[in-house]
Symmetry: C2
Subunit: 423 residues, 2 copies
Amino acid sequence: MLTPRGTNGRRPTRPIVLTSHPRTGTPQAPPITWGAADPASRGPVVATLTSPGARNAVGTHAGSYSLYRALAVAAGQLDPGHRPDLTNTAPAAPIGPFPQWSEPGRIVSLDPWGHMVGEAFAGRLAEGWDIRPTIAVTRAHIHMPEITEAIRAGRLAPDDEVLNAAGDARVTKVAIEPVWWLPGIADRFGIDETTLRRGLFEQTGGMFPELITRPDLQLFLPPIGGASVYLFGDPARLGRPQTRIACRVHDECNGSDVFGSDICTCRPYLAHGIEVCIETAQQGGVGVIVYNRKEGRALGEVTKFLVYNARKRQQGGDRADAYFTRTECVAGVADMRLQELMPDVLHWLGITRIDRLVSMSNMKFEPIVASGITVLERVPIPDDLIPADASVEMDAKRAAGYFTAHVPDAAELAQAKGRELGA
Amino acid sequence: MLTPRGTNGRRPTRPIVLTSHPRTGTPQAPPITWGAADPASRGPVVATLTSPGARNAVGTHAGSYSLYRALAVAAGQLDPGHRPDLTNTAPAAPIGPFPQWSEPGRIVSLDPWGHMVGEAFAGRLAEGWDIRPTIAVTRAHIHMPEITEAIRAGRLAPDDEVLNAAGDARVTKVAIEPVWWLPGIADRFGIDETTLRRGLFEQTGGMFPELITRPDLQLFLPPIGGASVYLFGDPARLGRPQTRIACRVHDECNGSDVFGSDICTCRPYLAHGIEVCIETAQQGGVGVIVYNRKEGRALGEVTKFLVYNARKRQQGGDRADAYFTRTECVAGVADMRLQELMPDVLHWLGITRIDRLVSMSNMKFEPIVASGITVLERVPIPDDLIPADASVEMDAKRAAGYFTAHVPDAAELAQAKGRELGA
């Protein structure tokens, strides 16, 4: 314990405990046996702050939004003791349990029971434990202009079940917060757990000393964005070997996904993925869009825009043969998405085979296959969906080994040119 | 210093320092005089991890993406000593300096010099300080189906400058990472700095003990999402009193902004804001879209989906008169966006008057006006842009005092019904 030097001459009224897990007085949280098939044996993730001593995780709920919650408490706008009333919040459609949930090391970056806490840990909740969902499942209708256009062009036909004539598609959608089981994360990257904990602590500028001081806490809820999943077709078909699965794993690109920036193929490819998902659902399968909050290859948007400038201004202009180099100069690596963790969500959905993977990226394909999922077909983006300024990206990616029927050579690479900054 | 208990029997080869700011051996970072008009007096934000002793901030760059960087280092994929090569990355258009940058307390949640570090701190960079941009400015062409539709419907006319006949709009776009000056943040919320630091530390489960132990460090780079700004028209016109400004401040809603979910008006209102921005730019003004990463009113998407379920399942179904209550039951508050900080970006852009504010929200209007910006007109979303299932949201917001010509009474509120979960 430590009494802080006041910054404005005032002393706080009680000492600040420099650990979030004081060990005295409060009941200890149930132990976690990660991967146990029975939720009672697995144990609930307790990461709330209403009873600090009862926690069994480092960090807290809501990913990076935990900071807004903390600010709201500091500003006196939120009672820190508030506990959610979870009445009527249970999943709008059941998902799982599936055998993958208890296969060793299969899922390490989300809590497979995260949407079912009300059911799986009913007893603990009744005892008064503050257990919160880390996954939520709801239903929605979505409407995208590209899908209306696909109907108009005759590529999709309304069936009034998956898709209606107005272009509205029915979905089950899922929000997932990250829950990292640190021993499994370390294994996934082939490093020891101490190296992982040390890296996470030191290379964030000293976030969460308990990563170091509390090796008994094996769970970490990192303050990062999570994933959203959009399911087309009846989710009850998931986990059945005969169900055909179409899937796009999409990493957030706000500039394209929302604003339609023409320097990349992100939104067009996403829309094409949704079209394939709707088609598959109409044929009795399930379409799966995974949307990961990994802006700018998880380098963030500031780095992304710095790289855009460097690409546009380099000698010879924006060229496919220097596409990755410029990112490496600025960021130190061309990519920080760490796709090693990405297949977890597919296993959570009970997927063992993807019939149509709507992605050209080997950085996605390889970890999916390495994680034990069979991929039957890879669906490229149709050429007519590639925006004007995105040819540089496409050629660079093809040359870097993205799946393609045609690998451009050095001469072609030098040819694909992007727009100049002033244009 | 402390040698951690190894989790796998191995001892790390060097002790782990449980502070990110060891005070010995390395040069001290230049002091920060926040709000100083001259950047040399203000001092650079030094938050990199390549020379820990030289830092003058808590936390590090890239917001929540700092975790991915840390993981990449831990996994051996990134050299922790990498320094960005910032060649050719300078802003594609100059922004500022504006008088607001040095008005006391005007800007406390971003670094106004963040995009200009190469210029403003050239001397320090030459001395070897690792100073990184927290803002990046680039140019782009964007294409949104709603804008093409506005041209088709005759609401927008292409001018080949701001907008071409194919529906491509020219923008200057800006990515901004959060940089919090803690004394100013505390003032903004009317609390003392110790309360703020304590809340941020304790209510995140113990993130960054230096918030408590190092009151001399007044800057905090929180691991949250930042903002993107899209500017329509020549940004050189910013800061001139005669320039007409259209503006929408939009808070991220992935389900609507990207996927077109019909339960809210987010994307339709955003698209309408862009239409107004293009129109204003064509008339010689500047259109400003601010896109804040505040998913689900900064409660995060898991909470948002839990609330959707509770709304749809409550007795009487989804109704406007219970719209905010369901969020409060789950989250403890109806909203956590803390709009008190939101006007900072407008002041950074040199804005003193908004001619057309494309928002009905008093939660946005009031802090903007309270911060000293004049708002001349408020532009509601046209009725024909409100999606099928979003009437509940609209009526609830109107009744809660969102700007509107028509405030619905209790009978009307009880009438607006949303779709059921199974539908």
